[in-house]
């Protein structure tokens, strides 16, 4: 449940820029995303120069051998860069020798992940599958590849069982929120008891207290960071914006109908 709430309070600015400006004429400050073809690509495993998610300027990175799995990757050829940065509109100039970097991983077979290679202690290590797919998507986001009919991608995230997602993502956050709620709850119960003398059991019987409890629970679910308040306000405004544009013509001069005949 808290994960689904995450949908409505995204930290990523791109959802926010979507919310705030899909309808305004483009102003330079809003085009946070440098177009991919103009981004310099550092020769790293994971081209960490900023992709569209954060909108930050290009971040140079040393070649980071980050993860423990150590999958072999094709190194990005620097020669790839001019191919993208040239304004040449003709179909890509290909010299036979230059290897265009494609996503490559020994476990990526036939357009999908070969689950047999993700075995750990006799059963599939779903966390590793998720990690691998995340890396693949990130790679492709930074180095878009042409889609070809010869090796189509057919991976579907729904093969990963639901409990793998729960265990890894939902439970830690649920633990956090429940912990916070419990701490606040204990303190408030103590405070109310000391101020009014009403014990915990009697507090729960009171309608006003129950309402406050309900508000607290909903509040914790919906507002988990300070930015969430702003995001929710923007969301509400956005969902009604389109509607307002449609109704605009009806708002028009009710008295002006006689003006122009």
């Amino acid at each position: 449940m808290s994960i689904s709430m995450a949908l409505f309070s995204p930290p990523a600015p791109n959802l926010r820029t979507l919310l705030s400006s899909p309808r305004s004429l483009p102003k330079p400050r809003l085009t946070l995303k440098p177009s991919p073809s103009l981004m310099p690509k550092a020769p790293a495993f994971f081209a960490v120069s900023a992709s569209s998610d954060n909108g930050a300027g290009a971040v140079p990175s040393s070649a980071v051998a980050v993860e423990e799995q150590g999958e072999p990757k094709v190194a990005v050829e620097p020669a790839k860069e001019p191919e993208r940065e040239n304004g040449s509109v003709a179909s890509a100039p290909e010299e036979g020798a230059v290897a265009v970097a494609k996503f490559n991983d020994s476990r990526w077979v036939g357009g999908t992940w070969n689950l047999k290679q993700f075995q750990k202690d006799g059963s599939t290590d779903w966390d590793a599958v998720i990690d691998a797919e995340v890396r693949r998507r990130k790679w492709l986001e930074d180095n878009p590849e042409s889609s070809s009919n010869d090796d189509p991608v057919v991976f579907d995230t729904s093969i990963i069982p639901w409990w793998a997602w729960m265990k890894r993502f939902h439970l830690p956050e649920a633990e956090l929120l429940n912990g916070r709620a419990a701490m606040i709850g204990f303190f408030m119960a103590y405070l109310v008891d000391s101020l009014t003398g009403v014990g915990l059991v009697d507090q729960m019987g009171n309608f006003f207290c129950k309402t406050l409890l309900f508000i607290a629970v909903v509040g914790v679910l919906v507002i988990r960071k300070n930015e969430d308040v702003e995001t929710i306000k923007k969301l509400i405004e956005e969902t009604t914006f389109y509607d307002k544009q449609w109704q605009a013509t009806w708002q028009d001069d009710n008295s002006g109908s006689s003006k122009n005949g």
């Binding site: 994960i3 991919p36 179909s91 990130k138 991608v153």
Partner: protein
């Protein structure tokens, strides 16, 4: 194939002397005809713009008995356009199948990470997406309007003079055949597209718009075979930050293009992106034409003012998510024309702003606002970010989703769905969005580490 029959009517100066009309009535609550009857003449209507919207409006008006003038500045030009129309349009507008260049029966949707899904498994044998050339469709509709009695005027409308009082006419100033002319009419239908001059004259307000950019590429035969009945839709930040890029087959070439609202200056970069994404399939092709066009994103603040109504792109009736405009342009033109005919009782009476609002705007909004709203919601959720796009492609793999979306596109009505399937679809939508959002969070974390 419809031939382009143009009749050049060089209208003589038609400024008539003031007719002694009664002043337009105060709004009454009684619905019986309160508009003054026109003495000895029919209602005169000018339709500015001869595209699908204008031609449909002119056809409805002329068939209904209104004296109609249809203005078109360049009848032979081919408008930049995707060129896809839904199945219902062929029926509703009696379009002969000979106009259709291609029957698209398969639509391929490709996610940012190249996950590919084939749309079209649920199409029945007689169902398809019709692709046609705009110049062919437009000239067919125009000549049909003409055969119903509309007078086609080839000329550029330069100004629309608003009446000084409620009984004076609108004066359309235009240049035709090198000379300046003008025409006095009672009612104006503005169907002159995204940069509507009529809209400017009545102060209809602005809208934000997307830029659609496309290149027409002639492919070698074996590559063209792949696109025989197949259209492709590409998603990703490399091809568009808030829309999709496409490869649509046309009569003997493909149209490769993309569009964007917020990053118009980078449109060329996005075009390079789509060329790159589709490279193996379009390599070796030859660019035969490059074109761009604005697409309105939402309706103008004012769509009816005085005795002027806007229809089609001029009003801003392009849907979000799919960017579909032809059907809604033609339908709005028709509804506006029919509304005017009804309010004027076959051209016998004058009409007023209230009539236009009641017979055209109210009917239109009641019928289609929910469609627009749903598509707006879909665009917001699924086009705004890479994870949303991945989620959309994954969802599009589901058969129920395909059936519902294709049927609502083709027939423009909400299909009677299986309730249980609907619930399942809603649940899997949420689940997919959650999964893809989590993945995107992980991607962001990877970036932060390194």
């Amino acid at each position: 194939m419809a031939s382009q029959s143009l009749h050049h009517h060089f209208a003589s100066l038609r400024l008539r002397t003031r007719q002694p009309l009664k002043p337009s009535p105060r709004p009454l609550t009684v619905a019986a005809s309160k508009n003054p009857p026109l003495p000895g003449r029919k209602l005169r209507a000018a339709v500015i713009g001869g595209g699908p919207a204008g031609s449909s409006a002119a056809e409805s008006l002329a068939s209904g008995g209104v004296e109609t003038f249809l203005f078109e500045r360049s009848p032979s030009s081919a408008k930049p356009c995707g060129g896809a129309i839904p199945l219902c349009m062929l029926d509703e507008f009696d379009l002969p199948h000979s106009l259709v260049d291609r029957h698209v029966t398969e639509m391929r949707v490709i996610s940012p990470s190249n996950i590919t899904v084939d749309f079209g498994k649920t199409l029945r044998p007689h169902e398809f997406i019709a692709m046609l050339r705009r110049e062919v469709l437009d000239s067919f509709l125009r000549s049909r309007a003409e055969s119903r009695g509309a007078e086609l005027i080839t000329g550029l409308v330069t100004d629309l003079e608003l009446p000084r009082s409620s009984s004076s006419p609108y004066v359309v100033h235009y240049t035709s055949g090198g000379s300046k002319r003008s025409l006095a009419v009672d009612v104006v239908v503005g169907a002159d597209g995204a940069n509507s001059r009529v809209a400017k004259s009545i102060g209809a307000g602005e809208y934000s718009y997307a830029i659609a950019f496309q290149e027409r590429i002639r492919l070698p035969d074996e590559k063209m075979k792949y696109y025989e009945n197949l259209a492709e839709m590409y998603l990703g930040d490399d091809v568009s930050p808030d829309f999709y890029a496409w490869v649509f087959p046309k009569c003997d070439h493909v149209a490769v293009g993309t569009g964007t609202v917020r990053s118009k200056r980078e449109i060329k970069a996005y075009q390079r992106g789509i060329r790159e994404r589709a490279r193996p399939k379009i390599e070796g092709g030859q660019v035969i034409k490059v074109e761009a066009h604005p697409i309105p994103e939402h309706p103008r603040p004012v769509r009816v003012r005085g005795r002027v109504a806007l229809v089609g792109d001029a009003a801003g009736y392009v849907t979000k998510c799919s960017g579909e405009g032809i059907y809604f342009a033609a339908k709005s033109g028709r509804m506006c024309g029919e509304g005017i005919v009804k309010a004027s009782e076959g051209g016998a009476r004058m009409v007023g702003e209230e009539d236009l609002r009641r017979e055209y705007l109210r009917q239109w909004d009641d019928r289609y606002v929910s469609t627009y709203r749903v598509l707006d919601l879909l665009e917001k959720v699924f086009y705004g970010s890479n994870w949303g796009r991945e989620a959309m492609v994954e969802l599009c793999g589901g058969e129920y989703v395909q059936r519902v979306s294709l049927e609502s596109y083709m027939y423009k009505r909400l299909v009677e769905g299986d309730r249980w399937e609907g619930v399942k679809m809603a649940a899997s939508t949420v689940a997919t969005l959650v999964r893809c959002k989590i993945m995107s969070g992980e991607m962001g974390r990877l970036k932060a580490i390194a």
